[in-house]
Structures are given as C-alpha cells and as structure tokens.
Symmetry: C2
Subunit: 200 residues, 2 copies
C-alpha cells in the first residue's frame, strides 16, 4: 500500500476517534492527549499526523463533511435516475440531522466546530466556507427546480434556500428530545410539499 494512503487512513482513524470524544464527552475534552488515548496511539504518534489541535479539528470537520456528502451520494443512488429535486433536498436535509448514529456523530462534530468558530478566526473562515458551499448547492437545486417547473416561479430562490437551511434548527430539538424523529420528518415533508406545490 502506498505510504500516502496509509497516512490518510491513519488521519481518518484519528478523526473518528476525535468524533467519538466530541460525541461522548464534548469538545472541551477533545485535547490531543485524549484523542490519542481514544485512537489507541501515543501522543507523539498523534503529533506526527497533526501538528496542532486546530489542524486535527479542521481535518476531523472536513472528514465529517465528506462522510456526510458520501451518505447523501449513496442515498441518491437508491433514489433512481433522474431523482426528483424534492427527494434530493429531503435527503440532504435529513442527513444533516442526528437521526441515526453516523449522522449524529457528524452533526455533533459540526455543532462543536461552529462553537469553536466563534472564538477562532481561522476556524470561522473554514466553517463559513463549508456552509457557503452547502448553501450554494441547495440554491442551485432550488433554481433548477424552478426552471424545470417543479417549484412556482414566483418563489424567491434565495429566501427558499435560506428557509430550507434553517430547518437544520431541528438538530437542537432532536438532541434534547423535545420532538421525536418522526415529528421532524413530518415537518420537513410538510415544508417540501408546500415548496413543490405550484399553488403554494
């Protein structure tokens, strides 16, 4: 196996260890030392792969985003071709919510990263770029759905995109057991039904 693949794999193993620490104990406990222990390697070995906690956090966040995108991609394959834009948006939205263990791990990593961003300019810039990228993808989907007649052309694509992204607000309600998963899914379906009804 080429050395760079092994290097990448070790970094991913460390990233998953960091996710577990964040998920089970919170970002406060995601020190280099604790992550090394969770990954079952020495602190020195960890430092070989990441020169700083920030570098480790950023890689773990990028990896979380990639894994999220991969889950969406796999979901799209099972939707058939061409997938209806309503189903694509539903998949993207629901994979961002803590509705199953993998999604919960990446969702908690993401929430922790956002809080870290408030006090670190570098993290802020990276987190912002990630969200802007996701926002642009959703807006492109909405604009295409309008062009294809799936959404009423009177709808404002910018406003509709922002309202769709705001639905990630279900994360807190789900994490605190204020609503059940089926409540969040029902609400998202209602929202999408109204968006994709030309008279709505």
């Amino acid at each position: 196996m080429p050395k760079h693949v092994d290097h990448r794999e070790r970094r991913e193993t460390i990233a998953r260890a960091l996710w577990r620490v964040v998920e089970q104990h919170g970002l406060t406990h995601a020190t280099m030392r604790n992550v090394a222990r969770e990954a079952n390697i020495s602190l020195g070995q960890l430092q070989h792969y990441f020169s700083s906690r920030t570098a480790m956090l950023s890689f773990a966040m990028d990896f979380a985003s990639e894994q999220n995108a991969l889950r969406v991609e796999r979901g799209l394959h099972s939707l058939g071709h061409p997938a209806h834009p309503r189903d694509v948006l539903r998949l993207m939205l629901t994979e961002m919510l803590p509705l199953h263990p993998d999604a919960r791990a990446t969702s908690r990593m993401s929430a922790a990263y956002v809080l870290e961003a408030l006090h670190d300019d570098g993290v802020h810039a990276r987190a912002r770029d990630g969200l802007l990228h996701g926002r642009a993808m959703v807006e492109e989907l909405v604009r295409q759905a309008i062009a294809d007649g799936h959404i009423d052309p009177d709808r404002d694509p910018v406003v509709e995109t922002d309202l769709l992204l705001a639905l990630t607000g279900f994360t807190t309600l789900l994490e605190l057991d204020v609503i059940e998963p089926q409540d969040a899914l029902a609400a998202i379906d209602h929202h999408l039904d109204r968006l994709f009804t030309p008279s709505g």
Copy 2:
C-alpha cells in the same frame, strides 16, 4: 436593601460575567476561576453564591431565558393591544436570534448550554424543560390564531409549531456570516406571511 435582593443581584452580576466569558472565549473557558476573575470577585466569594460550576451554569441559563422573555415582553408593549399573533411570533423568533448584542449574549449562552446538555443528564433535563415550555407557548399561540381565524384551520398546529421553532436554525447561519440579518428577517417574514394567509 433586603439581604435576599442583594444576594440575587450578586448572582445576576456573576451570570452576566459568565455570559461574557462564554461569548468571548467559549464554554471551555467558563471555569469558576475565570468567571470570578471576569466578575472581579475572589473564587471564595463566587463559591459563596454557587457551590458548583453546574449550579452557576444553570442559573446563568435560567437568567438568560428570563432576560429573553423580558425583551419579548417589552417588545409586546410597543406592539399595542391586542397584538396580532403574527407580530408576537415574529418578536419571539427574532429575539432568539443573535441579531443584537443582548440577544447574541443569551443566544451563545443557550447554544453552549445545549452542547453541555449532551454530556450531563441534569443539564439535559433542565434544557429540555426550558425548550418544552417555549414550544408549548408557541403551540398555544398557533392554536389560538387558528381558533381566531388568523391561520387556516387545515394547518396542523403541531407541525406549524415545529416549523416555527426550526427557524432558530438561522442562528448558525448568522453567527458564521453565511447570511445577513436582513436575509434572516426576510425569510422569517415570508414564512409568517404564508402561515397567516388562509389560502397558503
């Protein structure tokens, strides 16, 4: 001044110091020692008012909720009587978002408390109770607006309540400068316009 009033005032002063630490440096730094320093008192004095970090955090969160409710109450006074339910909901939603310094302080305190709740059963129960209380208030408003003919009776009050609360998802988009305050307000207004249009 009666002693219990002084006691309450000191606790509120400490709570505001904790908010500042959370807002400027994050929850990780909200130790008893750092909060005492920010409040300009000794650690011993702080411990006289709060026996543990968790007790201090919980008081600071309750105080944040109270201050939020107070801002909404003041806003209601300027709306006139009787206030239209659309305006009441708009006020409640926008005061939960980090759109001005006071709201940003309580919003960040709340976000930090939610993350703490994921790893502390006691905090989880308290945070959940607070959100359930807020959810019940919004649902009551929605049900009354349906009864009064302001919202189409075909709308499901539970789904509409959940969709309204999900709009707090704008918090992350605002904190990371992904959208501007006017974008969030425009989207909230669009959502409320459709909710309060009987044909919508």
